[in-house]
Symmetry: C2
Subunit: 405 residues, 2 copies
């Protein structure tokens, strides 16, 4: 008998029929002899409807009250899921985040989980119940309702699995698992059976969009193995877990492409200490996230600096940078929106040499120009022209033989 | 500076615009220098929508989970009302029933309030906030969400007013106050400025429909004065309070008519000890509420017994009674659906004689036949033909000069 935490997203519980389907799936796991804790999101569309309602009474609603409002979404789903299980003759009890002992800090709409006291959950499990916990929400030390922000329900599931020392956490979603590349862009993309936390993190943060990084980081920190799988079929999905020696045999686990970045180039900045700080501190102060930064070698006391930001932040970033560039006596500030960031990820890179060379060679053979390069221990990223992205991705995917065997 | 609890029902907060109107009204009370606690219901239609949703996943949903589900209705309204107050620049914080310290017994969907610890509410008030509490809900000793059943939001308001020792509780609804008779049936009906708890109780339980009896009983027990008034205008409404000597000068406070009763008559029941118990114990066991019971004088060892039940219970009541009547050797069991119960209510009756005579005379003069009579200290009720009800009501209203002066 295993203790399993199952998480179902908004689409999986989007209407009464789907909730009944989810209940049937949960019951099958019970019949297999497992103890089940379920985490559910708000039914798809509900959260957006609540936000719209809030805006109708106040264009900029207070975050504390926003949390009180949004928390009703998951509370609705837990009750309905419990009722659907009862209809199948399965004992089940619902708990709100606060009732499940999920204590967070007081940062409304993006609270961090401080600790979880799963006493009530354990009691209810011991009593033969499926315990259904509202995802995305908790309460701060004073008892005020908080929400965890984007991807919060995944985090609830992973954190509960950690607190309960569950054997497995299953994240049910609308994709079959994690692929070697986005199957919509790369036809040959292959579903991975397993992947390490670090690889998943690099892929998640690079736009694989299956899960938010914070949930994967949490899972890594507390060594919670979890699988990502579809709520629409019985395919096994992808298991995300601690790295094993065997995993290193695979040089590249996957490729991702991020088309939501834009590049800013500052030509001929004076090459002296403190310049980088002078440029990037004001961006940080303006809460603009800078991703890649590349500074070219100095020529006659001047250097070119390029960096990338989210497309949405481009206009703001230019506004911050231009007066500073002027002040520093640098040359033109130029921006480029039509770029893509292509990354290859794999823990095998640590012990295999030549990955970068293979990547650059493949791109060259396909006439893809590289604008920027950045590397980490398990990842190589290049900025290329957006128009080249799909072609480059397919070529690299083929080169590293990532298609299904 | 007074501490006032204001309660707004589902129609008053039925959409974003109405919520903004309610917020403006609350703010005016704040500007008048009062401390305000607000109790709100679910937006009209929301509760019915949730019940429908529940039925789609389970035809007979569990009551515990029903409470988890229904409680989201008021939780939505408290957040929106707080946001609407913020938009007007008024500090406001929302609390769910549980957060407001409303502890109930564990009888889901019809819980009773066990106690209220208004510590958090007091702190927030002292800090200059309007405190907005979710009506209709609380939590049991284990922290499970409970709801109070029909009229629960009124009860929350009255109980909070009692716990906070508020100066006044204002029940905002879609009627202007309590009238001498239903204005839809009696054109001359006049709004009452004040009324005693007992009179309100008799009128409420007799179909005046403004408030549930349990809320009035609670107010009486804890001596909470409250007014019933419209959220759509600034009319002063009706103040419900402890009886004063001056109130006794008014013989009749109001008239009500209840068309939802049905009568059962058992002819020629043997007149011996234990017969009444033999008849009415099984009805109680079947959870059928019997209202009026009349037993005629014995003739040759036999007696006629008549009683009234809610129309909805008539078929069940007959099924219970018929075999017993047979067993007792009684005569025919007959039922009458087309009856109405007309009642005149007033604490002045205690010190004024002749009310009953005046009532019977007026009915006779209008050719209204009386089928049953029942009296209490402050009320006289008669069962008449349903077809006579409106005519009788208007005649009696005129006879006792209940129209506006």
């Amino acid at each position: 008998m295993a203790l399993i935490v199952q998480k179902f997203g908004g689409t999986s519980v989007g209407n009464p029929e789907r909730i009944r389907n989810v209940a049937a799936r949960i019951q099958r796991a019970c019949e297999d002899g497992h103890q089940i804790v379920v985490v559910v999101s708000a039914m798809s569309g509900v959260t957006d409807g609540l936000i719209k309602l809030a805006r109708e009474v106040n264009p900029s609603p207070d975050v504390r009250e926003m949390d009180v409002l949004l928390a009703t979404g998951e509370q609705t789903t837990i009750a309905l899921t419990a009722m659907a299980l009862h209809a199948l003759g399965q004992k089940a009890v619902s708990l709100t985040g606060a009732q499940a002992g999920i204590v967070t800090d007081g940062v409304h709409t993006k609270a961090k989980i401080a600790n979880i006291t799963p006493k009530r959950t354990r009691e209810l499990l011991a009593d033969g119940n499926v315990v259904i916990v509202a995802g995305f929400q908790g309460a701060d030390a004073e008892g005020a309702i908080t929400t965890l922000g984007r991807g919060g329900s995944d985090l609830t599931a992973i954190a509960l699995a950690a607190a309960l020392k569950a054997d497995l956490c299953e994240i049910y979603t609308d994709v079959d698992g994690v692929y070697t590349a986005d199957p919509r862009l790369v036809k040959a993309a292959c579903k991975l059976n397993e992947i390490s936390y670090d690889e998943m993190l690099e892929l998640a943060s690079l736009g694989a969009k299956v899960m938010q990084s914070r949930s994967v980081e949490f899972a890594k920190k507390f060594k919670v193995p979890f699988s990502v799988r579809s709520s629409m079929n019985d395919n096994p999905g992808t298991l995300v877990k601690e790295e094993t020696r065997k995993m290193e045999d695979v040089m590249i686990r996957g490729i991702s492409v991020d088309k939501n970045q834009a590049k800013i180039n500052i030509a001929k900045a004076p090459d002296r200490p403190g310049i980088a700080a002078r440029l990037f501190k004001p961006l940080a102060d303006a809460h603009i996230n800078v991703d890649m930064i590349v500074q070219n070698a100095s020529t006659e006391g001047f250097t070119d600096v390029s960096f990338t930001v989210a497309k949405d932040d481009l206009t703001r970033a230019r506004k911050v940078i231009e007066p500073i560039a002027k002040e520093l006596g640098a040359g033109t500030v130029a921006d480029f929106e039509k770029i893509a960031k292509l990354s290859v990820v794999g823990i095998g890179m640590r012990s295999h040499s030549g990955v970068a060379a293979d990547l650059f060679e493949t791109l060259a053979a396909n006439k893809v120009n590289i604008q920027m390069i950045s590397t980490s221990e398990i990842k190589i990223s290049v900025i290329i022209d957006a128009a080249d992205a799909d072609r480059a991705m397919n070529a690299v995917h083929a080169k590293f033989r990532l298609g299904c065997p």
